[in-house]
Symmetry: C2
Subunit: 217 residues, 2 copies
Amino acid sequence: MDDSAQGSRARAGKRTDIRRANERVILQAAERVFAEAGFGGATMQLIADMAGLPKANLHYYFATKEELYRRVVEDIFQIWLRAADSFDDAPDPATAIGAYIEAKMRISRQHPFGSKVWASEVMHAAPVIQDYLETTLRAWTEGRIKAIQRWIDDGRMAPIDPRHLLYMIWATTQHYADFGHQIETLNAGRPLTDRQWKAATDSVKSIILRGIGLVAG
Amino acid sequence: MDDSAQGSRARAGKRTDIRRANERVILQAAERVFAEAGFGGATMQLIADMAGLPKANLHYYFATKEELYRRVVEDIFQIWLRAADSFDDAPDPATAIGAYIEAKMRISRQHPFGSKVWASEVMHAAPVIQDYLETTLRAWTEGRIKAIQRWIDDGRMAPIDPRHLLYMIWATTQHYADFGHQIETLNAGRPLTDRQWKAATDSVKSIILRGIGLVAG
DNA sequence: TCGTTTCCTGACCGTATGGTCAGGACATAC
DNA sequence: GTATGTCCTGACCATACGGTCAGGAAACGA
């Protein structure tokens, strides 16, 4: 129609496809290796093996280990931010906060490696995403704090400190990813089932919602 | 009196003193470096510099990096366990759980490096303390779950899942250590003051206690 | 078909790291 | 004093790691 030759939307040349596919498989392997070994413990060789590519090929797509790591962290941050939208889709506090908890629990289950990389990055004083913390995250947080404070001022929930409520939600939901190994060990060595994940989500929602003066749905 | 020569309690020979003092300074430096760089990112040279000792001297006291790391993790686990006692010192649920939260918040403030090392260890699938998780931690957890369940059965608190309550307490309190950098960034780049730590502790206690059907003190 | 660009990779290199060791300093016991 | 064990350390080593590079294969455009 408008681009070059044949099908325009999903086709952009075989070369571009190759690049996209390889970057994807590398990033996926890197996410896992960084999560399981930490930045310092991860090796390009290990990532290459897990991606099924020669090490030199990694350096063709990502010049340095730092660059690859940065991409992994940035990708996670995007997922994290997208989930935050569920906060704004409902003006009712119980629905908004409940949906946010559910979204974050879902991410903990679907992206445990990413969550661990993020945790590791922050624990090491955020060497590569400090600017995101100071801009995007800070802005998002302040906005949400204001929204919650408004609910409190309107008498729609208990007068708790919104900031610490957010920290509690982050901490609790991410705990199921970051400390998943410990939780699994305390679950007879077995990963949580669908049912157990639902129970965990319900428990978290129930305690927090009740804790801020809202009844769990 | 009973031992060898002079003062017996605080004296056990200068040699023993030297050993104790050096081990202490090494462990302290190691805890910090492991926390800030991760196991893989930490180097014996860095730990030695921070301890003010030649690298070879570290290897005199701790044969390998793994051995030094293991000692750091084990020491943290002990601190962690000692705090858990506050759970049993009061039979009243509100007091017990409130005291436990306070103890854990205090540890987060006093041992942020240790908390990070612990988190990192668990995130990496607990390569060195898996046995502790399966024995000591599991036993402690099951015991506490039973105690909480008893309170619930007696109608003294809301019928929540005790296991997830414990996870929430762990997650939330440790968050203030493990994600301290993020919290500091969201606090205008400044570490929390005494007053802010108290506010955080009160918020956590308040939400959780109310969340499980108990009123915050 | 031919030139150009992208993609691929085995072999290689410099460096940093964990760990060793021989030899010396120092404290202690007799 | 002297023998013995503890403590200390500069110099050294083998290895593993991140990264480079030359040269070739494959895709593409005309």
